[in-house]
Amino acid sequence: MSFQAPLATSRSVTGLPTGRLAIWWVVVSEIVIFGGLIACYVMFRLRHPEWGEYASHTSTPAGALNTFVLLTSSLSIVLAHQAAAAGNLVKSFRYIWCTIGGGGIFLLVKSYEWTTEISHGYTLFANNFWSFYYTATGLHGLHVIAGMVIMAIISIGVRKGEHLPRVEYIGIYWHFVDIVWLFLFPLFYIAK
């Protein structure tokens, strides 16, 4: 089935690319999803001081390492965008794959953490703290995976020099995923 882009896609009344507008609206809808989940957790946490005890069983060094990895991967996607804008496709392609690699390291560390915690008996069902922990970090992890898959698809286009603005759009999404982690890390790892 061939697809012909309608005229609508070529218009830009606001002067901003439509893709950029759309990705910001995606981020808005994601903010309220994570915002709702985090707000629920915070409301519970305020009523249950004993959850600080449970939080001490999450690994702060592992979380800190993941924070570092994720922030670095945000830098590399910016560099990929910059390289794409400058027309350096090979460099952009490499930086995108650096970012995907960062996501991969994040997930590896995450799975190490989960394995350790589960083997200590802190499963999804241990209590509501752990339910929130797995739900929130799991949902975030799904966003990381989704971002990695989309980046891999975009990198194919970058190699051919097609759809270069998409590097910027996935970058905006990736920053959002990063920022969500910056909320999850203190709430589930640092606050004891």
């Binding site: 012909q4 609508a8 915002g35």
Partner: protein, 569 residues
């Protein structure tokens, strides 16, 4: 008439097709916004028939408890719960949303802003496919062991969370999954509506040249997007509670069942305005065309819409006055709830002022639009009793709430839809609907609608609770007087369903045999009437350019009483 205006933009080339598209790519996998609108509309209409059938079954059970219902059989308590739950869910999520937001948004936005399609046509197609999947999952859930979900459309835990209470171990998670998928579909659609309106308007169309109905659908999409997130998170938590056995909402294990109520109504109340606003927009278009008069206070209507949208995020806890919330918080929510009636009332006054001094033409569309104002007004006024925490303590969970709610949602979803369909049918299908049959349908529907729900106000004030299978089990509520009112409401409901037959016949016959409609049968100003009826793929032969605001009717000194937006002089 100088309709065609020279412009650099043409649809030539962008739509050069290699021959006629086959059935599948034309009707099933189309990316054309009009075809997606039709898919949404027909799916919504089929779901409305299913939801209406459910209402018929449980109304019959209430009027004649225990007797076999013709066309269904004996209603068991479990089936009763499932019927009322899915009636509510279907009518809101699978009728009001797809018809008012998705069908009208898809059909009208590109046409009314002078564009050939949405800016993300394939995302649009995906949106409908996810929606269709959600509808299929919902309908499939009626046929699994235990039947469809029976925990009421609000799905309060622990009833909804634990299958030993709701007795629908498979129906409950399927219902939740269907609702969540439906949300995803409308998030995708909403992003499309917002970005299309922001970026793809015709040359010359400034912010205040956008027709009110487009504004309203876009604002409704933003409200939906900003309110549904916490409920998506909450639905994931509820699904985990149902399927995996977590205890987010289980008070025995330190969970909080009221949390769900907050998440649900934080979405649920803005949702009322999500569906109200498109209906208000439709009514604005119709009354201004058939009053042949400029819409009164365009900007005021727009600003009151913004005010309604913002306030709608601060009223949700009026659903929870007896859920154990702090009385001081109840006071605050009483104030915000009563406040929100101000912008809505102002909007209604603007509409009435539009009618004042107009040369009114009582077409079927206009009749439905006027009845919307009258019926919604009753819904709004009775809402004040429920928004005030003092009276709500008595009225909570009675049929008074139910009647109030239907006096808002019936005008929105059903009357709003009929207003739109009688008005835009010529544009959608290129033929006129029959006005006589339309008027029979109108009077039958409106009279029977009041016949159903006015008695329910009385029953509610008499203390009749909602969601009760058989009132004979409650001697105080089983009096002959109350039973007579129930029977009257039930026969009204049956009659109203019967009066939809003229509509369905009129609709079907007009599709094929109706009088051919020209481009602009109502002599309206907005851009969709510039396109041929029905609009071809690409909508306009040449893209229109906008020169003025959309409601310049009966302008003094002009020969014609309308002045299309795309006409240079």
């Amino acid at each position: 008439m100088a309709e065609a205006v020279t412009t650099a933009e043409t649809t030539e080339g962008a739509h050069s097709h290699h021959g006629e598209p086959d059935f599948w790519s034309k009707y099933i996998f189309s990316t054309d916004h009009k075809m997606i609108a039709m898919q949404y509309m027909f799916t919504g209409m089929i779901m409305a028939l299913i939801g209406g059938y459910m209402a018929y079954v449980f109304r019959m059970q209430l009027a004649f408890p225990g007797e076999s219902v013709p066309g269904y059989g004996t209603v068991t308590p479990l089936a009763y719960n499932s019927l009322i739950t899915n009636h509510g869910a279907i009518m809101i999520f699978w009728v009001a949303m797809p018809i008012l937001i998705a069908a009208l948004g898809n059909f009208l936005i590109p046409l009314m802003i002078g564009c050939d399609d949405m800016v993300f046509p394939r995302v649009n197609r995906l949106s409908y496919q996810i929606f269709l999947l959600s509808a299929i999952i919902l309908i499939a859930s009626f046929f699994v062991p235990g039947g469809g979900f029976g925990g009421a459309w609000t799905a309060y835990p622990p009833l909804s969370a634990q299958s030993q209470y709701n007795l629908t171990p498979f129906g409950a998670p399927m219902w939740l999954l269907a609702v969540a998928l439906e949300f995803v579909a409308f998030l995708l659609g909403g992003i499309n509506f917002i970005t299309t309106t922001m970026n793809a308007r015709a040359k010359g169309m400034k912010m205040y040249d956008i027709p009110i109905v487009v504004w309203m659908i876009v604002i409704a999409s933003i409200l939906f997007m900003a309110s549904v997130g916490p409920l998506i998170a909450g639905a994931v938590m509820l699904l985990f509670d149902q399927v995996l056995g977590t205890t987010f909402y289980n008070p025995d294990a330190g969970g909080d069942p009221v949390l769900w109520q907050h998440l649900f109504w934080f979405f649920g109340h803005p949702e009322v305005y999500v569906v109200l606003l498109p209906a208000m927009g439709v009514v604005a278009e119709v009354i201004t065309v058939f009053a042949r008069k400029k819409l009164f206070a365009y900007k005021t209507i727009l600003y009151t819409t913004f005010a309604t949208g913002i306030l709608s995020f601060f009223v949700w806890a009026h659903h929870q006055f007896i859920a154990g919330i702090d009385p001081r918080m109840a006071h605050i929510f009483t104030v915000t709830t009563v406040l929100i009636s101000i912008p809505i009332a102002e909007m209604l006054f603007c509409y009435i002022a539009t009618l004042y001094g107009g040369s009114i033409r009582l077409t079927t569309a206009m009749l439905f639009a006027l009845s919307f104002l009258a019926e919604f007004l009753i819904g709004g006024v009775t809402g004040i009793y429920l928004g005030a925490s003092g009276t709500d303590i008595y009225f909570h969970d009675t049929y008074f709430v139910l009647a109030h709610f239907h006096y808002t949602f019936f005008p929105i979803a059903i009357i709003g839809f009929f207003t739109a369909i009688y008005y835009w049918f010529p544009k959608m299908f290129g033929r006129m609907m029959n006005e006589t049959w339309g008027k029979i349908h109108f009077w039958g529907t409106i009279i029977c609608f009041n016949g159903i729900f006015l008695p329910l106000f009385v029953l509610g004030m008499g203390g009749q609770h909602r969601r009760i299978y058989n009132f004979n089990n409650f001697p105080d509520l089983a009096t002959p007087e109350m039973q007579d009112l129930r029977i009257f409401a039930t026969w009204s409901a049956v009659a109203m369903l019967v009066f939809q037959i003229p509509f369905l016949i009129n609709f079907t016959v007009s599709l094929f045999k109706g009088k051919k409609a020209g481009k602009n049968p109502w002599n309206a100003n907005t851009l969709e009437w510039v396109a041929p009826s029905p609009p071809p793929h690409g909508n306009f032969a040449e893209m229109p350019v906008v020169y003025r605001a959309p409601y310049e009717y009966s302008v003094p000194g002009r020969e014609k009483d309308y002045w299309p937006q795309n006409m240079p002089d």
